[in-house]
Structures are given as structure tokens and as C-alpha cells.
Subunit: 167 residues, 2 copies
């Protein structure tokens, strides 16, 4: 498949509103890969409303091969009390049959270029501990993997229960 890799033309560009349907398909594909197929509650309309306009809540890049969307990355700003403004890479997804062709790398580069141009002091993201290929890729690129932090979350139902018990 080396010939294919060499000749494949990958275009990464800013996502448009009308890409959100394809983007949602990729999000759902990743949820299956991460063994949580039913976790995706977001809709095309929510992505379109949240990602565009003057108060957009994220930036999204898409990768195209032969005018078809085969991958996406989605990131937003966070505020670190140590570093100030930082970028958080929420998702980077390449559709399964296009993996290993440099699409993921192209999307990754684009997010890091964007972050660099914005002058942020740090880019962060999360990776599942069993996703060895991803961890290797990130470490080779100069990122550090911090294994001593745990992620804590309170979901909608628990939040509701907590609030009700307080009052």
C-alpha cells in the first residue's frame, strides 16, 4: 500500500456548517471504537449551532480525500490557572478504512499549527490507556503522557440527585 500512501492527496481545511453531518458520523464511529456506542447524544443541529458564529464553542477541521470527508479534529480553548489560555483537543477521528494513510497525522499537525499560531502555552488531550498506537504516536511527536491524573465526572442524573439532596 506504499504507492497508495505516496499518491494520496489529503486536504485539511476548516469545517463548514454543512460538514457537521459527516462529522457526527465520525463521532459515532469513534464511540463504537471506544466501546460506548450509545453515549453520543449530540445532534447535527447542536454541532452547527455550537461550532459557528461569533460565540462558537469549538473549532473543527476536516480531512478530505477525493472530496470526501475521511477525518476530523475538534478543539477548543480552556483556561489553565497555571498557564492561562490553552488548547484542548477533544477528538481526532479518522474513518476506519482510511487509517494508516497519514490522515490522522495531517489533522494532528493542523491542530498543533493552529495552537502554535494562537500562542498558547499548552495543548492537552486525553487518551485511553489501552490505545497503545495512539500513545506511541503522541510521545514520538514530543507530547508527554501523564498517568497520575484521574478523570472525575458527574453525569446529568447524578448532578440532579446531588442538587435535590442539597435543597
Amino acid at each position: 500500500m506504499l504507492a497508495k500512501t505516496k499518491t494520496m492527496e489529503i486536504t485539511v481545511r476548516n469545517a463548514r456548517k454543512d460538514d457537521m453531518e459527516a462529522v457526527l458520523e465520525l463521532i459515532k464511529e469513534l464511540a463504537v471504537f471506544e466501546k460506548e456506542p450509545d453515549a453520543v447524544e449530540v445532534t447535527v443541529a447542536e454541532l452547527q449551532n455550537a461550532g459557528f458564529g461569533s460565540n462558537s464553542q469549538f473549532m473543527c477541521f476536516v480531512a478530505e480525500v477525493k472530496s470526501e470527508i475521511v477525518g476530523m479534529s475538534l478543539a477548543y480553548f480552556r483556561f489553565s490557572t497555571w498557564k492561562g489560555r490553552t488548547v484542548h483537543l477533544e477528538d481526532l477521528i479518522v474513518t476506519e478504512n482510511m487509517r494508516g494513510n497519514g490522515v490522522g497525522r495531517a489533522l494532528y499537525n493542523r491542530v498543533l499549527e493552529y495552537s502554535y499560531k494562537q500562542g498558547v502555552k499548552r495543548v492537552q488531550w486525553m487518551v485511553l490507556d489501552w490505545n497503545k498506537d495512539a500513545v506511541d504516536f503522541y510521545e514520538k511527536s514530543g507530547a508527554e503522557v501523564l498517568k497520575d491524573w484521574w478523570l472525575v465526572e458527574m453525569k446529568e442524573e447524578s448532578l440532579k440527585k446531588f442538587i435535590e439532596e442539597q435543597s
Copy 2:
């Protein structure tokens, strides 16, 4: 100290611009507790610029006892590709000599109340795996601790190096 606990009046309110000096002191105190005393690069001016006005990058609450700031919590919105808008609790800090008096709980409640009113589907934060007291507190309140995610970060210097090598 039970009597003290019972009579101590804790006020939690939205932070104002002129609280940012006290807030930065708390941030620095936490960095020492987390064994990274030199990691804090943020300044009072940055906190004041980033946290207030129409494009504020975070919301901050402060806890006062006898008109003195003894704790703070700082949170902001994130965008989950599964859940849509969520709240991320970046920091919750109580000054050392005031711990164990309910100040942390009051700040925690306030962030969760705020999140609930905003109608978000999830609140997330990170905890160091050795901070057993915090982990117990969070779990008792209904939060889940996810131990299979690793945090990945690319710092400023590595980002610069990465970009230079690409071009």
C-alpha cells in the same frame, strides 16, 4: 473544633476583578501542594482580563470567612462531542488553615448548582491519584472516577520544536 465549624459563616459569591490577587495566591498555594511550585505562569492581570467582560474565559467563585477570601473555584465550559456543552471544574482551592471547615464543600456545591442551572449534561474535573481524601469526597457526592484515561500534553517548547520540524 466542632463549635467553630458550627458557628463559622461561609459566604460563597461570584468573584470580582479585584479578588484576582487573592485568587492567584490560592493558585500558587495549590501548586505547592501538588509539588509543582514553579509551574504557575499566570498573572493577576491575565486573570483579570480573561475572567471578566463579555468574552470571559472562565467563571470564578470565592469563599469568604469574616470578609477574607479563604477559597475559590474556577470553572469554564467545554464542548463534548458526545454530550454537547459541559462544565469543567479547573480548580477548587481552600487555603490550608481553613480546610475541614466546609469551605470546600460550599465551593463545590456552588459549581454544581451553577452547572445544573446551565443545564449541562456533565461536569468533569481531574484529581491526582494520590489525593485519596478528594477522591473519597467526590465519589460520595455521586461523581465517578475514571481511571482508564491518561492526560496527554504538549508544552510550549515541545510545540515549538514540533512546528519547526514540520516546516
